[in-house]
Amino acid sequence: MLTYATRRTILAIPTLLFISFVIFMLLQLAPGDPMAQVPLTVPPDVKQKMREALGLGAPPLVQYWKWLVQVFWIEPQVLIDWIFGTSLAEGKLRVISWQTRSPVMDIILQRIPQTLWVVGVAYVVAILIALPIGVYSAYRQYSVFDQAGTFVTMIGFSIPPFFTGPLLIVIFSVISLETWWLPVLPSIYDTTHVVNDWQSFGFQVKQMTMPVMVLAFQITAQLSRYMRASMLDNLGQDYVRTARAKGLSEAVVVNVHVLRNSMIPVITVIALGIPAIFGGAIITETVFKVNGIGQLLLTALFANDLPMVMTLTFIFAVLIVVFNLIADILYGLLDPRIRYD
């Protein structure tokens, strides 16, 4: 297992370097200009000077090398400084966003809490709902519950969030349905809100409700399909009959024997979905103005803030690769039959 993990990790490094190079070159080729958002009243020669101040003049390979050094050498030093209070990175140039002239990493750190709150909570909620639904619909395959569950999850699959999002806003924020005992929910997420008492916690819950609803609906749909399929696979296995032949109750047969086996692929699917939490949910974040990572990426992309886009996409790539690895290792841990090496 250890060699396997090591091997995979070592293999991941060239893959990631390659990915970063590909992304970098793609971004270089992109025709956009970070100065496009500067108003036309600023004359071109001034824009040119501004561009040079951003370091845009250097050849792409030099820029790439600089970025590599900054990400792999200087940023870790900053982290160490931050943890141990040393000053290794003093005065060294970090990855600077073109839009804000501030270190990209600082902004990312600032955004992560929102994203984790909203997308992460949605994910957890979705898991908590999806697994029981999946288990029960598999156990009662073709029952009314299963048919209904299938229908609802299919809808979850099929309705894009940019449809459900505005719909919810109209329902909960605009046409106030207070008369029907429905709460009025804020349509704009307050990223500065601090939870320090029950009331502010209540507000936090309120403002998270809609984005979490939209996201959780989708994730629930996917996960419960997986869970159901996996349960169905295992319900037909011989060992289930053996367990029944031992006189175990159905609850034990299903919730212990079958579930434990069915969870193996589902857990890896869950693990594979985690990078997406960090990636944020671009559309949902846009719709509800949750200024998380997804929204950061989108604005950076439209503003042609290359260092920001580059670093963000690279972080996602790292997360995806890492969680792929984790998923594989989890699989190995959960399934005693699988031994890597």
Partner: protein, 333 residues
């Protein structure tokens, strides 16, 4: 150890005489083709049948519709702007409706029904084309990686690479990157079509490739492949005749899901404002544009929104039904 129910049918014909006991009777039922079997199983899946029906209806509507309803979707008729769909007259007699605008018109007086048809055409075309391309790439990579051991490592690393590339940013990037050259080559709509189709395909073939590879690896170990090799089938023929037909079911299923993803991705792109040019309606674009006026003209959001959702829903059900129908374990029941 056959488990075929046909054995019982045989019994009706043969009594256990000495010879009868040992003769190896064939099935009495007329030969059924596999296709018919699958179809009869598929027909039992109500959701899938509904899905198929709706999908055919939509496809037909967007293909034939514009020839029957010949209103130009781009025709501006500023005096007839902001018409409501004809059915609103049912509960709101003061609504601005007209039989010439069955589903109403938008803020510039463009006919909603014509736009729905044209938009559906674009969405469906993107969906189908992207799905076909993605399935093609996925199948090719999957089969090659599964069949040729030497290629496996390289192709699977490539798949990993594409999986690790974050999709939406890449998508947005490529749109800004290649839109202009392609537009120069194929015109504004053609270029964008090619771009969106290829981007959706390029970013969505990996699951298909993985599934197909897994199945090919399994099928390669089946004895009939070994048998085929021992009777001198060339690798090409082996793939075409023996491997591909047997991985058809995962391919079909991922094709169905791919169609759904492609339609959604296209509309998401339109929503984010990086899709088709503005004078080229697609469902996603119509939806995105109409969100602003959602309260006054809910139909402008609901119509494309429901069209997208229903299409994707039916495709998903179709995929579900296909999976069931193609799974011999279920079909046997």
């Amino acid at each position: 150890m056959t488990d075929s129910p046909q054995d019982d049918l045989i019994l009706a014909a043969s009594s256990p005489q000495a010879i009868g006991a040992l003769t190896d009777d064939g099935p009495v039922a007329p030969p059924t083709s596999r296709g018919r079997d699958i179809w009869s199983q598929f027909r039992k899946h109500k959701g899938a049948m509904l899905g198929l029906g709706f999908l055919s209806f939509i496809t037909l509507a967007v293909l034939v519709g514009p020839y029957i309803y010949t209103v130009d979707p781009q025709k501006l008729d500023i005096r007839a702007k902001d018409f409501r769909p004809i059915y609103t007259a049912l509960w709101d007699s003061s609504a601005k409706v007209g039989w010439n605008k069955p589903l109403g018109s938008d803020q510039l007086g463009r006919d909603n029904l014509a736009q729905m048809l044209a938009g559906g055409r674009a969405s469906m075309a993107v969906g189908w084309a992207a799905m076909l391309l993605s399935v093609l790439i996925g199948t090719a990579v999957g089969v090659l990686a599964g069949f040729f051991k030497q290629l496996d490592g390289v192709l699977m690393r490539l798949t990993d690479l594409f999986l690790a590339l974050p999709i939406l940013p890449l998508l947005l990037l490529a749109v800004t990157l290649f839109r202009q050259p392609l537009r120069a080559g194929f015109g504004p709509e053609g270029g964008m079509f090619i771009l969106i189709v290829s981007i959706v395909a390029i970013t969505s073939w990996m699951p298909t490739a993985r599934i197909v590879r897994g199945d090919v690896l399994a099928i390669k170990e089946r004895e009939f492949v070994l048998a085929a090799r021992s009777i001198g089938s060339t690798p090409g023929k082996l793939i075409r005749r023996h491997i591909l037909p047997n991985v058809l079911s995962p391919i079909l299923v991922s094709a169905a899901l791919g169609l759904a993803t492609a339609i959604i991705t296209e509309s998401a792109l339109s929503f984010l404002g990086v899709g088709f040019p503005s004078d080229f309606p697609t469902w996603g674009k119509m939806l995105a544009d109409a969100v602003q006026r959602m309260e006054r003209f809910p139909e402008r959001v609901m119509l494309p929104g429901i069209a997208i959702s229903l299409t994707v829903l039916s495709v998903n059900y179709l995929g579900d039904g296909l999976r069931d129908a193609l799974d011999p374990r279920i079909r046997g029941r």
